[in-house]
Subunit: 209 residues, 6 copies
C-alpha cells in the first residue's frame, strides 16, 4: 500500500503547495483593487467559509423601522475575491429600506417573510415596482440604480439580498445628502431642494455644512 500511494503522488509535479481555489481575506495585509490579500492556505479552516452574523435579526428600533445587516468581504472573509456577497433585511411594520444604490453590484432579493413593495428607477426614469408576498418571491435590481423596499404588510418582513460582487457597497441617498458634511449651498444648487428642507433633514440625520 505504501508503494501504491507513492505511485499516486507522482502523478502531479508541483513546485509550490499554494495552488488554492479561494482567497480568504487577511485583514492585516494590504488590500488591492481586486480585494483583500489571501490568508495562507495552512491557516484557512471551515469557519472561514461560513458566517453566522445574518442569523440574528437586525435592530429595527430606528427611524426607518428597518435594518440592513451586511456580509460582504469586509465581514465574511470567505467571499473575498469570489464575486458574491449577501445581506439581511429586517423590516418592522411600516419599515422602509430608504432609497439607495449599490455602486458596485446588482442585487437579487428573495423574500422569506411578510409583504413588501420594492422598486427601482432606470436611468431613463422609468419606475419598476413589484409587490412580493410569498416565501421565495425574488426580484432583481440592476447595478447602480436607485431602489427601495417597504414593508406593506401587517407583520415584520424578512428578506435576504445577494450581490454580484464581494464588495457591493451601499449609498443611502438621505445619508449621502443629510448625514454628511455636503455643503448646503451645493445640495440646493444640484438638487433644487430648498435650503430650509435641506437643513431640516440635516437636523434629522445629523449632517453638517
Amino acid at each position: 500500500m505504501i508503494l501504491t500511494i507513492f505511485f499516486i503522488f507522482s502523478l502531479l509535479s508541483l513546485a509550490h503547495a499554494s495552488v488554492v481555489d479561494f482567497c480568504v481575506a487577511d485583514y492585516n495585509a494590504p488590500k488591492g483593487p481586486a480585494g483583500y490579500s489571501c490568508k495562507p492556505p495552512s491557516k484557512v479552516t471551515a469557519n472561514d467559509f461560513a458566517y453566522h452574523g445574518l442569523a440574528t435579526a437586525g435592530n429595527t428600533t430606528n427611524i426607518f423601522k428597518a435594518a440592513v445587516t451586511i456580509a460582504s468581504d469586509a465581514q465574511f472573509p470567505g467571499v473575498n475575491g469570489l464575486g458574491i456577497s449577501i445581506s439581511r433585511l429586517d423590516l418592522a411594520v411600516n419599515g422602509v429600506i430608504p432609497l439607495h444604490t449599490h455602486p458596485g453590484a446588482s442585487q437579487l432579493l428573495v423574500l422569506v417573510k411578510g409583504t413588501i413593495i420594492a422598486g427601482f428607477v432606470s436611468s431613463d426614469n422609468a419606475v419598476y415596482l413589484k409587490t412580493l408576498h410569498k416565501l421565495g418571491d425574488t426580484m432583481i435590481f440592476p447595478q447602480g440604480l436607485l431602489h427601495f423596499q417597504i414593508n406593506v404588510g401587517g407583520s415584520n418582513a424578512l428578506a435576504f439580498t445577494s450581490f454580484s460582487s464581494a464588495n457591493p457597497r451601499l449609498q443611502i441617498l438621505d445619508f449621502a445628502l443629510f448625514k454628511s458634511d455636503f455643503p448646503t449651498e451645493f445640495i440646493t444648487a444640484t438638487t433644487f431642494l430648498d435650503a430650509a428642507v435641506v437643513k431640516k433633514l440635516k437636523g434629522l440625520f445629523g449632517g453638517s455644512g
Copy 2:
C-alpha cells in the same frame, strides 16, 4: 410650465433612446457568450425583474428526497447579463443534494429552515464541512469545486443559494457518470470504479453505454 419642461429636456443630447441599464433576455433572438440578446426596452415591464418560480416548494418525492429549483438566465429573464442568479433547495428528512459542481460560479447558501451539513472539497483535497442550523446561517462554496448538502435534522430543510453568474450551471456527479451515455469502459478506466458498480448505478440512474 411647458416651457420649463422643454428647458429641462434639453439638458441631454442623445441620439438613441436605447440607453438602458439591463438586458432582459429575449429567448427568441441569438444568444452569445455573454448571455441572451436583450428585449427592446419598450417591451420590458416590471414583471421581467421578478420571478415567482421559487415560491413553490420543489418536489422531493425522488431518490434524493430533495429538489433544486433554479432561477438562472434561462428561467428568469431579468438576471441576464447581470452576473447573479439564485436557486431554491428543498430537502425532506434525510434528503441529499448529491455531490456536484457549478462550473461557472461560486455559490452562497443561506439557510431558511432546518439543519443541514454542507461541505466542499478543495483542489488539494482538503474537505471543509459545516453544520448550519439557524435561519440566516450562510456558507460560501468557491467556484467549480465538488460540494453537497445533507438534511441532518428531523424536519424538512429549506435554503436559497445565490450564484456569482447568471448562468452558473450544475453538474451532478452521479448524473454525469450514470445518467449519461458515458461508456462504462472509460468510466472504469478513469475512476477505478469496478464495471459492476458502474453498471448498477447506471441501472439506478438510467444511463447507457
Copy 3:
C-alpha cells in the same frame, strides 16, 4: 514581384476573413449584455471611428444652465465593446450638472475652460470636493457614486468626461424622483421629503404619480 507577394501571403493560414480588432455597432441587429452586434468588417469605414457630435456646444438655455452631450455606444458606433466613451459638459455662468450617478462606469473629467467645483460622496458619506480652474485639470469620480459639477467662474465652462465603459449611463437624481411616475407616497416614505416638496418638484420637472 508577383511571386514574392504570393510567398508572403502564405505566411498565414486563416479560414475566415473576419478576424477584426473592433466591433462597430450595428444598430439594426440584436444587442446583448456586452453591447451591440458588430457591423460586417467590409462595411466599416474610418467614419465609424470618429464622432463629431461633441464639436457643437450643448444648449444651456434650460433650468440647469448646463448641457450634457453624450457619445456612448448608442451614439458613437466605434466605441461599442471597447470599454470607453466620452461626453461633453457645457456650463453657462452659474450652470450646474445636477446630482447624478453613472451606474456602469467611473468618470474622468478634464477641464478645458472656466472654473468649476466638482464633488462626489462616498458610500460612507464622506464628501470630496475640488475646484478645477486650469485647462488640463482632471478629476476622477469612482463608479456609481453621487456627484455634481458647478460653474463657479464668471464665464462659460467646458469640460470633457470620459467613462470606463462604452455604456456608462446617467441617472440624474432629480429626474429619477421628479420627472418620473415614482409614486409620491413611496418617495416620501423612502427619502423623508415632505409630500409638498415632492409635488412642487414634480411640477417643476414634469413628473407624475
Copy 4:
C-alpha cells in the same frame, strides 16, 4: 426502474433546456463584442470541440521561411467565448516569425522541435531574449508587446502558441506598414524611416500609397 428514473428527474426544475456550458460559434448569426452567437445546443457535436487544422504543417515556402496557422474562434468554433485559442508555428531553417503583436492576448509558446531564439520588447524598451531548444521549453509573451521568433538551429522548428483570448489577432509590423495602403508620407513622418526605405519594402510586401 421507470419509476426510479421518474423520481430522479424531478430533482431539477428547469424552464428551458438551453443551460449549456459552451457557446459553439454560429458563423451565420450576428457577432458581438464577446464573440460569435452560439449554435443551438441540439446541433453541437463532438466535432465542434476538436480541430484538425493544426495537424498539417504550414507552407514555409515564402519570404519568411515560416508559417503561422491559427485556430482562433474564427476557425475553431468550440473555443468561442472560452478565452483561449492556439496557433502552430512552422519555421524552416533560418525561418523567422517577423516582428508582431497580438493586440488582444498574451501568448504562451511551447517548443516541440528545433532551436529558436524568441524575444519581446517591453513598453519601457527593455528587450527580453531566450533561446529555447528542448521539447517542452516554454516562454510567455505579455499582451500587446512586439515580439518575434527565429529558427537558429540546423533543422526545421515547430512550436505551438496558446493565447489568453479566443480572438487574439495578429498585427505583423511589416504588413501593417508595407503591405497596406498606409501613405508613405505618414510612415516616414511617424517612424523616421526614409521614403526610399519605405517604398522598397512596399515593393517587397505589396503595399501601396
Copy 5:
C-alpha cells in the same frame, strides 16, 4: 547626438518608472484574488518569462501510468496575472489522466505524440468524445466540466494543455473522494456508492474518514 537624445527623452513625462507590462510573481509578498504581488521591474530578467520544467517527461510509474506536470503561476512566475498557463501530459501505454475538472479555466489540448481518446461531460449529461492521433490535433474542454484523457495507442503519448487562467487548478475526482478525509458516510449519501466501494478506494488512494 547627445543633444538629440536629450530631445527625444522629453517626449514622455512620467512621474514613476514602474509602468510595466507584466507582473512577475513575487512569492515572498502577499497574494490577492488576482494573483501574486509583482516583483520590482528592476529585478525581472528574461529568465522569469521562460520555464523549463515541462522539458522533462513526467514520471509515469504510478497507478495511472501517467503524469501531469503543471506550469501555472505558482511554478512559472512570468504568467502571473496574464490569464494563461500550461501543463504537460505524459501517458505511458494504457495510461490515463483520471476524471477531473479545472475549476477556474477552460483547457485546450494539443497532441504531440501517440493516440489518445479524450472526452468531457456537459452539465446536461451529454458526453463528447474524440480520438486524437496526429501531431497538432487539438481539443477544447470548456471550463469546470468533468473530463479525461486515455492513451489508446501502442506507445507513449505526449500532449500539452493550455488554460484560460494563470491559476486553473486541478480537482481529480478520485483524489477528492478517496485521497482526502471526506467522511465515508457523506460520500455514500451524496454519491450512492456503497461504503465498501468507498473504503476499498480509500485504501488504494490513501484517504481516511
Copy 6:
C-alpha cells in the same frame, strides 16, 4: 436629536469600517496584477482624486516636436483600479506622435486645439485615417493597434486621450527598435530593414546592440 441619530446609526450593522468605493494607490505597498495596493481610507483626501500634471503643456522641443504627458495609475493615485486614465498630447507645428501602441487599452482622443490627422492600422492591414479640426472632434483607437497623430495645421495642437485602463502603457515603435538594446541582427531578420538603416536610427535614438 441625539436619540434620533442613535436610531439612524443602527440601520447598518458593519463589522469593519473599510467598505470603500475606490482604491487610491499606495506606492509604498505591494503591487499586484490588478494594480497598486490601496491607501487606508483614513489617509485618503480629495487631493487623491484630482491631478494637475496635465495642466502644464508638455515640452515639444524634441525631435518629434511633440509631447505626451501621462496620468495613469503610476502618476494619478485616484484612478488605481478604476479602469480609466488619461494623457495630454501637445504637438507643435509639424509635430508628430510617432507610431505606437497601447498594449493594455483602447484610446479615445478629443481635440481641443489645432488640426491633426490621426490613423490606425487594423490587424488585417486596413488603414483608417481621419482629420480632426474642431474642438470636440473625437476618435477611437481600438486596443493594441499601431496608430499615430500628426499636427497638420498651422499652429500648435492640443488633445486629451483617455484610456480604457488605469495602466494602458505606451510602446513607441521607434523606441522599441532603436532606443533599446535590441540586437541589430534580430531587427533586420524580423523586419527586413537593412542593417545600415537600423544603425542610423539607433544612432538617432540612442539604442545599442
